[in-house]
Amino acid sequence: MAILVDENTKVIVQGITGFQGSFQTKRMLEYGTKVVGGVSPGKGGMEVHGVPVFNTVEEAVNETDADTSIIYVPARFATDAIFEAFDAGLRLVVCVTEGIPLYDEMRIHRRLREVKSMLLGPNCPGVISPGKSKVGLLPDRCFTPGNLGIVSRSGTLTYQISENLTKAGIGQSTVVGIGGDPMPGLTFIDILEMFEEDDETKAILMIGEIGGTAEEEAAEFIKRKISKPVVAFIAGRTAPPGKRMGHAGAIIEGSTGTAESKIEALRDAGVYVAETLFDIVKEVKRVLG
């Protein structure tokens, strides 16, 4: 089954004629993702790697029957692209773009309450259901089909951990990067809920970071709603308070957002919190039996 994307997912790429958009389209096609169209205002009629380009998302959806979009548009134009995708009625909108202003994100979330679309990101690497479909820029060779669901706030760290797991013979049902922004669309909780309902997923790995309260909220949810085993890892345990560590999300302020508070909440919810990357592999192996 997998979650969010599978072999039937039809994808359009917003910003397909840009460098990133075009390059990642090629890689998604190589992986077997059904990329059915692209959007680039004023470039309708062109083709990129054999994929037809349209002027608007609406047109692309009407012509291709796509249900998912991935956005490779610079930060200043990404908010507009997200609204366009919502209005075209897409089921899933994946936004890779980093650096969208907070007040734009607030408006995006306000709109999300009124539409049927799900938003993954912004500032995320996307999602992969190994062997089925990839909507994002996750490196193929790190993943292999299996029964572990992974949800993460990080990019390269997720690749590294997935690669370790794959090398150890542990495959994944779906790997979801929710992104490093403080206000992500789909949250840990949303993805945990989907994994809980997914037959293919037997255990869940959650990769969190310092800053914000998403991990604490997820812990609370796990306690009440998740019956499958959950293993967690928190990056930034030793980061000093008051310093912004790259991601807009990863900042400790005052007493909130510390690694201790997250680890405590997760342990309290019965989650195994790994200390090292070795630990993750060991524990996941154990819970998968």
Binding site: T156, I210, R237, M245
Partner: protein, 384 residues
Amino acid sequence: MRLHEYQAKQIFSKHGIRIPKGRVAKTPEEVREIAEELGGRVVIKAQVLVGGRGKAGGIKKAETAEEAERIAKDLLGSLIRGHRVDKLLVEEQIPIEKEYYLGYVVDKSRRMPAVIFSKVGGMDIEEIASKHPEKIHKIYFDPLWGLHDYQIRRELFKAGFRGDEFRGMFNLIRTLVDIAFEYEAELTEINPLAVTKDGFIAVDARLNVDDNALYRHPELLSLRDATEVDELEREARLKGLNYVRVGGDIGVIANGAGLAMTTMDLIHLMGGKPANFLDTGGGLADPEKMKNCLLHVLKDENVKVIFINIFAEITRCEKVAEGIILALEESDRRVPLVVKLVGTNEEIGKEMLRRYAEENNAPIYFVDTIEEGAKKAVEIAKEV
């Protein structure tokens, strides 16, 4: 980006919020002059961007201009929680009757803006919230519709505001929300909000604006230079590097924030101390990027060894190796490197580095896992 108190106060004042009379000074003589202008009785406030400034001795009262000058001599150049004091805000002392709290925050968990106020001010709002949750008033509002008048009225009545105080507070809330939306603030606060016989006055001011929106506020960008303390961090920003100095002796370079933080965590776990956080971000296909990162970390004289942890994937590793070699050639420092390099053509990249290391007697160690790399770096740091 967090603005200094004096910068936030200038913005507040421009929008009609009352602030104490005063100015910023950089020398004890200036402090004396300002204190004389203000009649001698002043408050001297270190302009450092740390919490708990008052408790750490960064806020002092003086009764005469001479005393103000003496205090300034002690404060200027001193460290407040690790931040060097190079500016002082000198203000008139305000006869305070009561202290309130007023703040605005974008609640990231609820994805909505909120106004928060309390008749208990002067300490951490977190502390008030945990000790007296009933004394905290919150108004969440729709970012599209904005804050309705009735929402403010309802909460003010509930909190027992009446008459002049009601009107004063109502206007303050309006103004603070206007400021927040105009500058795209993540957080803005008046704490304490002093009640005097002449009405409200903002004794302290905080304004944190969204970095991602700075391109829409060029006037704020010009304030930025004054807000960074660490010289290497300031330089990093000018070069566009995502660098934070932490103070240990093991330099860290990784691509990705999570990966960089994990590298630091594992160094700690193995008994070492990272010197910095540096996320190279994307764009490693250009060797200049890695070169700049490495040269920057080499500038930190405390660094005894550098752990370079790159999960390059798409990027060709020979480009990363080329960047490392360019930096080593340009720098006159010889610092051992621990390298974990994964990606396309990683063997070619490693071979380039191996050859360079042999020919130039430059110590470079290759590792396959982050754990192994952290351990190696800690060992080297202890030997040097």
